[in-house]
């Protein structure tokens, strides 16, 4: 990092550790336009919009230029202005300009900058080639015709989430940002966190809207529309309306009633249930030697990631359903019958800051009598859209409270919306559970804030309990590697996919940058500070309903309705690799898994052993051998598939035996018949 002084537009500024000229210009009150610059991502320098003129250097991209003592920088010159306009014009020429019907209209950065720089005309023709739009995934839509190749999504997914779903493919004028082998998004390892949507400056990546479905439910007079709202929504929804950035709980509930919801409940209610169930589960594991660390299970992005990447840790995940799914289950399994309705006649809508929740709601295990527990998931932005469509003047609404009894929530539930909130809520519950009513307020500061990894220790009944809180899948992966290498050990690990937690979810309003997240985070804790219901067990309605509807916390009733199981999941679809192909059609089919989990356990050697055995036993004409990517049994050792049967736990030692008993016998039978 350099020190010294530079001159920007005639003003002398101390460099004072500034990373680049762009940040320095911001310090003197000049906001340079950018597409590809995000302070939390690596510097790419592709869009060239942030160009400035530096004496003796000429034109440079300010984002990738380190300030040096004595630099004389000019940010607003005739040349720079002309270039910026030209760049925007060229980007527009290569962009599908369907602005009025685009989901990002009015929040699109390209649109905003075109206006800001007075680009009123594009002198070049329209692009003639239309690439197909990918709507396969439940949460995210990709429209490559609107992509300006800034690479923000590529770096977000790779650097922050550590997954790398997106990358550049092809080159020159044919360059595209796409998935591996240009597959559908639903067929690759995307966890639906929506962080790529958050950083996409245009409509190339957008959230799949369920607004029309929600209107349909509202207009259907036979259906009862029951809404739940996640904690992080209330501190962000206001951003969609006239610069109201604080908490808008009352107006939000009022707006939903005007829009046509029959009942407006709070996800805080089931967040409290989650705290209670998860704490009970933790204390049980601690006492009875169950699997530790216990990983939280509220975040559907994290759940899908662990199913894909860490099948060996699935037993460590809390079996608790997420608050959204607990709510859905409670509505369909209990609330519906209490208001005299069939589950299918109650439409359960959740308002979430999250895009992955759309995927979670569609998981087949979350159904009651064939009806999804959560029918429709709307993001914060989609709710704002509905309020605007209904013509409701949000700013003028008088506040309205949640419906009871499912509208009550504690402060501990509220902070679920921030990274560290679930951990803190569990700490509060356990402190109260052990200490009784004398405990009072428990504010647990070490797990709060935007840091990617937070660690803390507390004493629980004579045991030291170690807690880790991570946000961002990349940070989670680093922590897991440390745990697996024995470099760290914890009792509880809270994981949230999005930096800062749910307040920074993929369904939150634009601008969803670090500054916005910090502001929402503070708002959540401010609200918690004045909330009189502090801990989950202080929520009297939760206690009552757990008792009356489910038969008490930690009972078989809650276990059936509020808990779930996880299964390993493949990362990518695709054809198998042929190893031995017979000429005949009726050969015995064997597939050896060479997906990541099995590969690391030595499936390559097993494959070779099988190939040798086939040769040795003269079965080349009777057996087809393939390498396949994932049989979704990653937690049970190397898997192979013989015909339709999956055999797990294959090792180099038992491979020969398994081959002889499971394959060779089948071949003999076929040959002898």
């Amino acid at each position: 990092m350099s020190t010294g002084k530079v001159t920007i537009d005639g003003q002398v500024v101390e460099i004072n550790e500034a990373k680049n000229v762009l940040e320095l210009a911001r310090r003197v009150g000049v906001e340079l336009p950018t597409f590809c610059y995000h302070s939390e991502l690596s510097i790419y320098g592709a869009c060239r919009l942030c160009m400035v003129e530096v004496e003796k250097m000429g034109l440079v991209a300010s984002c990738s230029t380190v300030p040096m003592d004595g630099m004389v920088i000019r940010t607003n010159t005739e040349r720079v202005r002309r270039l910026r306009r030209m760049i925007i014009e060229l980007l527009l020429a290569n962009h599908d300009r369907e602005c009025p019907t685009c989901a990002k209209s009015t929040s699109c950065k390209l649109q905003k900058l075109a206006k800001q720089f007075g680009v009123t005309k594009v002198r070049f023709g329209n692009r003639d080639e239309q690439l197909p739009i990918d709507e396969s995934a439940s949460s995210i839509i990709k429209d490559p015709n609107k992509c300006i190749l800034c690479g923000d999504c590529v770096r977000m997914c790779k650097e922050i989430q550590g997954i790398g779903v997106w990358d550049f493919a092809f080159r020159g004028s044919e360059t595209q940002v796409t998935t591996a082998f240009d597959k559908k998004l639903a067929d690759v390892s995307c966890v639906n966190c929506g962080q790529c949507v958050s950083v996409c400056p245009t409509g190339a990546l957008t959230v799949k809207s369920e607004v029309d479905k929600a209107w349909e439910a509202i207009y259907d007079t036979d259906k009862t529309v029951v809404v739940q709202i996640a904690p992080a929504v209330r501190v962000a929804l206001g951003e969609e309306f006239a610069a109201n950035t604080g908490d808008v709980t009352g107006k939000m509930v009022a707006a939903l009633k005007k829009v046509g919801a029959d009942k407006v409940f709070d996800t805080l209610f089931t967040a409290d249930m989650t705290t209670i169930e998860e704490s009970m589960e933790f204390m049980d594991r601690l006492k009875n030697g169950g699997k530790l660390p216990l990983f939280t299970s509220c975040c559907p992005g994290w759940i899908k990631y662990s199913e894909q990447a860490h099948s060996d840790l699935l037993g460590n995940l809390s079996s608790c359903r997420s608050p959204q799914q607990m709510f859905g289950s409670m509505v369909k399994k209990h609330y519906a019958s209490r208001i005299g309705k069939e589950p299918k006649d109650v439409v359960s809508i959740s308002i979430m800051p999250c895009t992955a929740k759309k995927f979670e709601a569609k998981r087949p295990e979350f159904e009651t009598e064939g009806s999804p527990d959560v029918d429709i998931v709307l993001t914060t932005v989609e709710l704002a859209q509905m309020i605007k469509e209904a013509g409701v003047i949000f700013e003028e609404l008088d506040p309205v409270g949640y419906d009871n009894p499912l509208g009550m929530g504690s402060g501990g539930a509220l902070i679920f919306g921030a990274s560290g909130g679930v951990a803190e809520s569990v700490v509060r519950f356990v402190a109260g559970y052990i200490g009784g009513e004398d405990v009072g307020r428990v504010d647990f500061y070490p797990v709060r804030g935007m840091d990617g990894l937070k660690e803390a220790e507390i004493e629980v009944a004579g045991n030291t309990v170690k807690i880790a809180v991570v946000n961002g899948i990349g940070n989670a992966e680093k922590l897991i590697q440390r745990i697996k290498n024995g470099e760290a050990d914890y009792h509880v690990v809270e994981v949230m996919s999005c930096p800062g937690g749910c307040i920074g979810g993929g369904g939150q309003p634009d601008v969803n940058d670090t500054a916005a997240r910090v502001r929402r985070l503070k708002e959540i804790y401010d609200l918690d500070a004045v909330k009189q219901v502090h801990k989950a067990q202080d929520n009297i309605y939760v206690n009552k309903i757990l008792e009356e509807w489910f038969g008490g916390a930690g009972s078989s009733g809650t276990h059936h309705d509020l808990h779930t199981t996880y299964t390993p999941r493949r990362r990518i679809t695709g054809k198998p690799i042929d190893i031995n192909t017979s000429e005949k059609g009726d050969s015995v089919q064997i597939s050896v898994c060479v997906g990541t989990g099995c590969y690391l356990r030595g499936s390559y050697d097993i494959m070779n052993k099988f190939a040798e055995l086939i040769k040795h036993l003269d079965m080349e004409e009777h057996v087809d051998l393939h390498g396949t990517f994932c049989l979704e049994k990653c937690d049970q050792g190397v898997s192979i598939k013989v015909g339709d049967e999956i055999i797990t736990g294959v090792t180099a030692e038992n491979a020969e035996h398994i081959f002889k008993t499971n394959v060779a016998m089948k071949v003999d039978l076929a040959v002898n018949n």
Partner: protein
């Protein structure tokens, strides 16, 4: 032809030889392509798995370079040089004649029967012989004419 099993073993040997280093991705893909004669999707997924890279990153590299092919190549790979010298000496008519003869559509490079692949390449470094055509990188034909190249193709067809 090598057995698929041997190819698969070679695939792993190539990755092992380079110790799965990310910086060796291009040479790994080159050697794998030599083995399979193109880069099948499932093989690229395997490379990504073994190297602990996102498959999208491997796909990105494989599609960036013209030397890599993700679709099977024909038995005979005809390279028509389109460097500056060959271009001005008439490489385009050669390309046109061959593609017409082999009934290849505009973006199609390989015949349906997987016998021929026609590629236009940058300078082969034999500008004195322009326009230049090579077959399977070993036979070099200089100062080619459309009739001349059709003669070559005809012979190859007869060889089968």
């Amino acid at each position: 032809m090598e057995s698929p099993q041997r190819k698969f073993q070679r695939l792993q040997e190539i990755i092992d030889k380079h110790e799965g280093k990310t910086s060796h991705l291009i040479p790994i893909l080159q050697e794998v392509q030599e083995e399979y004669r193109y880069l099948p999707e499932e093989v690229l997924t395997y490379v990504a798995t073994a190297m602990k890279l996102p498959p999208a990153a491997v796909y990105g590299v494989a599609t960036f370079y013209a030397q890599f092919s993700l679709i099977p190549k024909g038995k005979y790979v005809i390279k028509i040089c389109d460097g500056t010298a060959c271009h001005v000496r008439g490489s385009e008519p050669l390309n046109f004649a061959v593609k017409k003869d082999l009934q290849l559509l505009e973006t199609q490079v390989t015949t349906e029967d997987l016998q021929f692949t026609v590629e236009r390449v940058s300078c082969l470094g034999a500008c004195g012989l322009a326009p230049v055509v090579t077959v399977n990188d070993d036979a070099v034909y200089g100062q080619m004419t459309p009739d001349g190249i059709l003669e070559v193709v005809k012979k190859l067809k007869e060889e089968g």
